[in-house]
Structure formats: C-alpha cells, structure tokens
Amino acid sequence: MSDHVILPEGSLEKQTTTLNLGPTHPATHGVFQNIIELDGERIVGATQTVGYIHRAFEKIAEHRPLYQITPLTDRMNYCSSPINNMGWHITCERLLGVKTPKRVDYLRIIIMELARISDHLICNSIVGVDSGAYTGFLYVMQYRELIYEIYEEICGSRLTTNIGRIGGFERNFTNTAFEKLEKFIKEWPIVLAEFDNLFMRNRIFMERTIGVGPISAERALNYGFTGPNLRAAGVDYDVRVHTPYSSYEDFDFTIPVGSTGDCYDRFLVRDQEMWQSLHLIKEAYKKVQEFKGEEAEVFHADVPDYYLPDKKDVYTKMEALIYHFKIVMGEIDIPAGEIYSPVEGANGELGFYLISDGGRAPYRLHFRRPCFIYYQAYSELTKGGMLSDAIITMSSLNLIAGELDA
C-alpha cells in the first residue's frame, strides 16, 4: 500500500479534476455525457451517462403494425438507415417465411453497402476532424451526397430513408438510379484513394491514433464488441459471413482485420471495408445486369398480404385500395413466432428480437444496438490516456446517439 492521502472533497490540493464532457459538447458528436476524472491531463476514470434522446422505440413498437416500425428503425443509426430498414424487413420476411428473389437481394446489397460506405466515411472523416484535419471531412462530404441522391431516386428521402418493403422495394430502380450508381462507382475510388493518401501514412495522424484507446481481442469479445471495432482488435466476426442474409453468400469478399484494436486500426479497418463495399457494389451491380427479360423487372417477392399494392392501382381499383388500407392499418395479423435476426450494421451486429403472439403488433421487440453495448467499454479504453485521446477514441468508436438510446 502506498501512503496515498485521500483529500477531502473541494480541497485545493485535491489530486484529480472532474471534467464534464457533454451532453452537448461539440466534440461528442451526439448527445451523451462523460464525466471524466483527470489527474493533470491523464484520465483516471470516465463515467458515461446515456439516454438523453431515448424515445421508447421498443414500447412504441409493441403497439404498431410491421410497416409503422420501419420509420422507427431509421432513427437508430441515422448515418446508415437503409441497413436498419432492410434488417427489419429481413426479420419480418424470416418470420413470415417469405423468400425474396435474387434480384431483390442484389439490389438490397447495393443499397446496404452504399449505406455502409456513407457511415464509415462519416466516422473516418470525423476521426480526422478530431485530430485536427478538417480538409478530408469537407472533401468527402460531397460524395456522401452522391449516395444520398441514389437513395432519393429510389425511395424519395435521404437521411431517414424508410426504404423498401417486406419482400423487396416499393418500385423498380429507375435508369436514373443506375446512372447515378455508375457515376458513383466511377468517381468514388479516386476520392477514396485521395482520402487514404491524406491520412493513412500521415505522420501527425499516426502519432495521434496509434496506441490510443486500444483493446485486446479477448476484452473486446467479453464486452460484446461487434463490427469494425471488434475486427480492429483482430477477430474476424462478420454477420454477413457467419449468418448470411440477402444472398451475401453469393459474393466473394474479404473481411479486413486489425491487431491492436486502437484508433488507428479502427480507422484502417473501416477504410478497407469501404473498399470491400465498393467491390461488393460492383459485383452486385454486375449480377443485377445479368438478369434478362422478365427477370430484369423483378423488384419484390409475391407477398400480397404484406407487400403494398401499386399506388396506381390503389387510386383506381377497389381491391387494391382495401389491401392498402388493411396493410397500413395493421388489419392483417402477424403469425405467432419468436425470432432473432441479425444483420451487419455499420457499427456491428444489429439484431432484431421479435416475439409475436399472433396479434397485429409484435408482443415484444428488442433491438440489439451495437453502439449501446460497446460504449460501456469507453471507461476502460480511455483510462490512462490523455484527454485529447479520449476525444479521438470516442469518435473512432462511431457512437451514434440515436442507436445508443433507441
């Protein structure tokens, strides 16, 4: 035992300083609070407070039919809402036993990988901002815009997309959508390569991130890490490979892994995942183009009980109008069942645990939000580091307040 003297609260010689970071600090990139205990500039402890934007999605979902839950999922990880939407639709399809056509699966992969790119892009460029490099962030934002334009062309909205339907998409992709996609495929790699040049071997950036906020593979697993943060620690767990959905098994792609689990590795893993996503988009687009004749027009499965009828028919045909009403108002009961269905969200394993008792709304719906689970390691990650490291660690974990609080 050392002869450490515990000084009374408030005394001038008190060894540590308490710093209140958040809930609305510009460096937190979201609404959550960190009470950091500092010894000089070194962190001795951090206490997180979350829940500032808790909106009771799980409670609301117990009162809503399936389609009215999709917009709730948008608002979890709003940097990549299409993945959430499709994860939810895939959960419903698994519960209902719907088999989607291959073309739908490939179109979904295109959209989900675009969402992954836009999410990783934000995260990586924000790590840059927090280490003092604003340029990368401003430069790549215009290419996120291209992704949002593709969403817009398909579903009409940009951030909270509410994209897709149970069984497929609301309408077929237009030629404009494919043109925009081709433009993105052509221009994006050049920009990403430049972005890599800016950061990857940048001495200042490396000094700021290497060895900062590291975690071992064992601890990361124990903390329930998933996604890029787990892979940065060296575990090659990816839901797309382990529990394939939406025909990911048809594609050949690499799962990048790091070794130290520090901020630099997290940056590199996300960066390489963007390249892999681009590769997946190209492959999926190639496969989509191979469909000929009638097959090339397929954009949804045949599920009349859950797939909304064509808007044109709703306005002109009685039967379509009735079906539209029944589906939207939840007049069709969901079959009873219990299912856990995960997808690889941009932050990790996004799981939907759905229990239906055969009523119009789920009996219980639990969202496994990757952010919420790995944020609890923050105290352990930052302990012993400098205050400025804590900021970078936070942004490199890619904490999204919406997902944290649900």
């Binding site: 903390y223 329930g224 799981g351 645990y353």
Partner: protein, 168 residues
C-alpha cells in the same frame, strides 16, 4: 465434430437433467429455460465447457407475460459460439414480486449495461450487479415502463391541453 443443436441439448441434459425445460427450436435456434437460481450455473457451464464455448453474449433482455402467474418476467440470453458459429437462446422466468436474478456481469462485461437496461424497463433485480441503476430513463422514475400494465397514451384523450402540440 461440429456442434449441433442435438449435441448441445444432450450435453446440457447430461449435466442438468430435468432442471432444464421448454426445449424448442423456433426458426432453428435452440431455446430452453431453467429455474432462475440456476441461471449462472448454466451460463458458466456453457462458457467453460471445452466443446460448447458460448463465450459471446449477443443480447440480454426481458419479456413481461402478465397472465403467467408466478413467472411473469422472463430474462432472455442470446449466446453465440463464435468458433462453431452457433447461437442459442436461454430463458429464466421469475415472479414479478421478487424479481431477483443473479447477474452475469462477472462472466460477461457486456452484461453490465444490458442488465441495467433490463432493470430500467422491467425492474429485474440483478443480484451481484456492481452498479444497478437506471440507464436510459431518468433516475427519479418510480415505475418500470415496459411492463404491460402501462399502455401508450390514448390518442383520443381529451383531458389534456394540447393546443401547443396541434392536437387541440
């Protein structure tokens, strides 16, 4: 030998016998339940056993069944064996008046906040949890809002002055 649902079930029955009940496989996921004082023993066995190796806690949440007298609350664990890539679901039921369940925090660091969330919304009292307080709701809250006796607000209610929110 690759792990299969039958094998896991056999190993668990060999170890715990009749204590484990409600064997099901909804959508291919092996599901079973145990009495609540056994939860840690089962989790520990699943974690330690050389073949089972369920070392990843995917998810932990609760469900409220008001009509099941004596076992109103269910705590659900989703576990994942990452080596053989197989998932299982494990439930323990508890009485709502004495909702005491042993905490899994010693085994899985991930359980910490998930148990706090479960406590916050369902009032499950995790014994042995290092810091069991509310996490998403305000600290002053006096009830457990995800329990089924709390309905959402009636959309047609008239007794509230909602002029400012467009619902007059």
């Amino acid at each position: 030998m690759a792990l299969s649902n039958e094998l896991i079930r056999q190993k668990l029955i060999d170890k715990f016998g009749e204590e484990l009940t409600n064997w099901e496989e909804p959508y291919g996921m092996l599901t079973f339940s145990a009495t609540k004082d056994l939860n840690l023993k089962v989790l520990q066995f699943l974690y330690d056993d050389k073949e089972l190796q369920f070392r990843f806690l995917t998810d932990l949440c609760a469900i409220h069944f008001p009509e099941r007298k004596g076992e109103e609350l269910a705590v659900v664990y989703h576990l994942h064996n990452l080596v053989d890539n197989i998932r299982i679901r494990f439930k323990v039921y508890t009485d709502i008046n004495t909702p005491d369940v042993f905490s899994a925090t010693a085994l899985y660091a991930a359980a910490n906040w998930m148990e706090r969330e479960t406590f916050d919304f369902y009032g499950v009292n995790f014994i042995g949890h290092p810091n069991l307080k509310r996490i998403l709701n305000i600290d002053e809250m006096e009830y457990f809002p995800m329990r089924k006796e709390f309905p959402l607000e009636d959309q047609t209610r008239k007794d509230k002055d909602d002029e400012m929110f467009g619902r007059s």
